[in-house]
Amino acid sequence: MEEPYSLEVDGSTIAGNAEPDTALLWLLREHGRTGTRYGCGAGLCGACTVWMDGVPTHSCDTPAWSATGRTITTVQGLAESGPHPVQRALIDHQAGQCGYCLSGIVMRAAALVDEYGSSLQEEQVREALEGHLCRCGAHPRMIAAILQAASEQS
């Protein structure tokens, strides 16, 4: 049975009717947040990662009801007032090939850089990205870019 929903996404409200267990991912994409990507639907690849109250979360297995009342930030919202340092560093390092995994990696890495700043270590980056799959093999560049973004923080 569909019920009304109302979600705070990237500083505005999206609303409509949906089954309460509809995955957040599909509501985001329905409302123009196509930067958040479907990869597996089971929280196993990281491509759909967004922030809920600043915490990286898989939107593909987060039911809409549990996102109600939370502040959701997507990759598009992150870049709204100019690219995040992680995004700038990924471009600097040309850290990607097909780029499909990047939205999720950006969200995970941005949270990491925001939290640890210049104290961030390579092992932390590798561990934090453990749940993010990249098939093209651009991992070393991404790690280097994230560490560079971190080193430029206070």
Binding site: E19, G35, C134
Partner: protein, 679 residues
């Protein structure tokens, strides 16, 4: 002349000049995340002598682009790059001729110049080449910023007015046909069920409704039929016993081992399982039927071959079918891009005027895609008492490496095998030797060996659908050849690098091996349970030279500590692009080699999620150091597939160095290593 120019001779098929001073370069090669659109733009800008930002790249489309077949075989720069180079050079000549003596910018004469002339008919003096400004420079990729910023970048993000979303309900096992039309009552939203024979799909205005309806319909369908008996556990026996069509690639009188007591014969068998493309995004396409035309948007590797198979499968005039390339997730060969395009076309036929976007599920992506073929290789080689190789025999067994659209007697699109008037997909083929072969790709060692005999045994039955995946047979063949080389070096007490160099007169081959040895400081001591190995090949025996050294540590599984790579791909258009391709190819090959195998039984692929089909993750990805061996005066060669085979070989040889055990059946899992130790 490049085949691209033979097939598309006119200058106007390659370049369009605009009054604002910009130029559109046309290509039949798809941007797959490999950066080809950027590299081709660099070539055009250089040859025209105009700033790079004035060159626009047109994505391939059957309405406008030159027909260059597939974006495959590491040939995009060789074929499309060379064609665009010639076209741009010819255009510059014609424009300069028109402007001569008039004191105007040659580009301003564009309205006066007829570009509907064969490129080959324009004679350009050899000494008029401009100095390179963009070729050889690491220009940033044109497509990457949007992907980092989460802007619409992929076909999945495309939204056409009135577009509906679709999911396809695949059979529960291979060989099943639909016997009961499911009850469509109670499906969410405006879900509509489309059936054509055993092809079943659901369409809805909202994507989440199509997904929910798909889940409900899966429960309601009834299927019957015979599943193929093959299972992954019995793969090698199957490969060696199934009916084949044999092709002798090279024939030689095979020498018996010389009579002296210390001469040796080395015989061994190698294998790899089926391997999945496993892109992070799933296949997606959009199709729309209007009164007189079918439009298809697709992340295909070949818009023209896809168009041909769609027209064949639907039984419509090919001129009515229009295919436009739009980027998708990573593409490493014949993945389901073409299949999903046909899914969309088939569904759209039932719903005139409505654009239909079909996206595959993760389970179908890992379960129903064509796989990189399983292979079994036997090698028997002889050496004289000094270790010099005197003869070499190779036999390769497996399905052909291409069932790409338009290459088989009947359409090779997945849904065509399910639709009411469809036919099963025929067994895959191998390209001819001149085009690089498939099973036999890199079957012939690059080493100087007086007697080589090689026979490809292509299976004429195909219980699991197989097709092209990055480097085709070269991956397994280079793994086998280089494992064999190491074992022979070891038996003769010769350093593996010295042993290779003794059998190589090709200076460019020697140079990449010497370069990587220097880069990695070959000979340095490694720790306990650790080992170092080398792998080398010249891709397709006609492409780039590449050598890889790997350091591994054997804990409870094999951990790659470091990869060093040297590559010679001739003149380099974009050095950073080459390094990205070489490193990416190596990391992907490390993943295949260490952990990947498609699991299946009774017609069902059971490795259909990321837990059952694991790939290499961030904590296990090694640092990679790559050096480009400079060869700027030589023709350019592709780099996308050069590192795959050498990486596999370096890892296998490093495992042997660490543990003293030769593992010949991939992947190099703890389980396989234990089996090899027991033998």
């Amino acid at each position: 002349m490049t085949p691209s120019l033979q097939d598309n001779p006119l200058l106007s098929q390659w370049l369009e000049f605009h009054t604002d001073g910009t130029v559109t370069a046309l290509t039949g090669k798809s941007e797959l995340g490999q950066g080809v659109a950027t590299a081709l733009a660099q070539i055009v800008a250089d040859e025209l002598g105009i700033p790079l930002d004035r060159v626009r790249m047109q994505a391939p489309s059957t309405d406008r682009s030159p027909n260059e077949g597939f974006t495959a075989g590491s040939l995009s720069i060789q074929h499309s790059g060379t064609a665009l180079q010639s076209a741009a050079r010819a255009a510059r000549h014609l424009l300069e001729e028109a402007a001569r003596g008039r004191g105007v910018d040659p580009l301003e004469t564009i309205g006066e110049v007829n570009l509907d002339v064969p490129v080959a008919s324009v004679t350009v003096a050899a000494d008029t080449t401009l100095p390179s400004r963009d070729i050889g420079r690491s220009v940033p990729r044109r497509d990457l910023d949007a992907k980092v910023l989460g802007e619409p970048a992929f076909i999945h993000d495309m939204r056409l007015p009135g577009m509906k979303f679709c999911r396809v309900i695949r059979p529960p096992y291979r060989g099943a046909h639909l016997v009961e039309v499911p009850d469509a009552t109670g499906l969410p939203g405006d879900s509509t069920v489309i059936r054509d024979g055993s092809f079943l799909a659901v369409v809805a205005s909202l994507e989440r409704h199509a997904i929910a309806a798909h889940a409900m319909l899966v429960e309601r369908c009834r299927w019957e039929g015979e599943a193929p008996e093959l299972e992954d556990a019995h793969l090698t026996a199957f490969l060696l016993s199934a009916p084949t069509e044999d092709t002798v690639l090279v024939e030689s009188e095979i020498l018996e081992a010389p009579g002296s007591a210390d001469a040796l014969t080395f015989s061994a068998q190698y294998s790899r399982p089926f391997v999945a493309h496993a892109s992070i995004g799933t296949a997606c396409a959009i199709a729309q039927w209007t009164t007189d035309r079918l439009d298809v948007w697709s992340h295909t590797q070949g818009v023209y071959p896809l168009r041909k198979d769609i027209a064949r499968a639907l039984g419509v005039d090919i001129e009515r079918v229009h295919v436009q390339h739009v980027e998708g997730s990573g593409c490493y060969g014949h993945n389901p891009a073409d299949d999903v395009a046909y899914d969309a076309a088939l569904v759209a036929r039932h719903l005139p005027d409505v654009p239909i976007q079909v996206t595959w599920s993760r389970e179908d992506e890992l379960g129903w895609s064509p796989f990189g073929p399983a292979m079994c290789v036997t090698i028997s080689a002889t050496t004289d008492s000094a270790g010099t190789i005197t003869s070499w025999r190779w036999d390769g067994y497996g399905n052909g490496h291409s069932s790409r659209p338009s290459t088989l007697p009947t359409p090779s699109l997945l849904a065509y095998a399910s639709q009411a008037d469809g036919q099963p997909i025929p067994p895959s083929q191998d390209p001819p030797l001149a085009a690089g072969q498939g099973t036999g790709r890199n079957a012939l060692p690059a080493y100087d060996i007086p007697h080589v005999h090689a026979v490809a045994h292509r299976l004429t039955t195909m219980p699991m659908r197989a097709s092209a995946m990055r480097s085709l047979g070269a991956y397994t063949n280079v793994f086998a050849i280089e494992s064999h080389m190491d074992d022979m070096a070891h038996a003769h007490g010769i350093d593996p690098i010295d042993y290779r160099l003794r059998h190589l007169t090709d200076p460019r081959a020697r140079r990449v091996i010497e370069s990587v040895a220097e880069l990695a400081d070959w000979g340095v001591a490694v720790g306990d349970n650790s080992g170092r190995g080398i792998g080398f090949a010249r891709y397709k025996n006609s492409g780039a030279w590449c050598a890889v050294i790997a350091d591994i540590e054997a804990i409870d599984h094999i951990v790659v500590k470091h990869l060093w790579i040297a590559v010679d791909c001739g003149r380099v258009v974009n050095p950073d692009g080459v390094i990205n391709q070489i490193e990416g190819g190596a990391i992907q090959a490390a993943s295949w080699t260490l952990m990947e195998q498609v699991r299946f039984a009774d017609g069902v692929v059971t490795s259909s999620d990321w837990e059952t089909y694991p790939i290499l993750r961030f904590p296990d990805v090694p640092p990679v150091a790559t050096t480009i061996v400079s060869a700027d005066d030589e023709p350019w060669l592709g780099s996308g597939e050069a590192s795959s085979g050498p990486t596999a070989a370096a890892l296998g040889n490093a495992v042997r160095a660490a543990l003293g055990v030769r593992v010949r059946d991939l992947p190099l899992t703890a389980e396989r290593i234990v089996v090899a130790m027991a033998e």
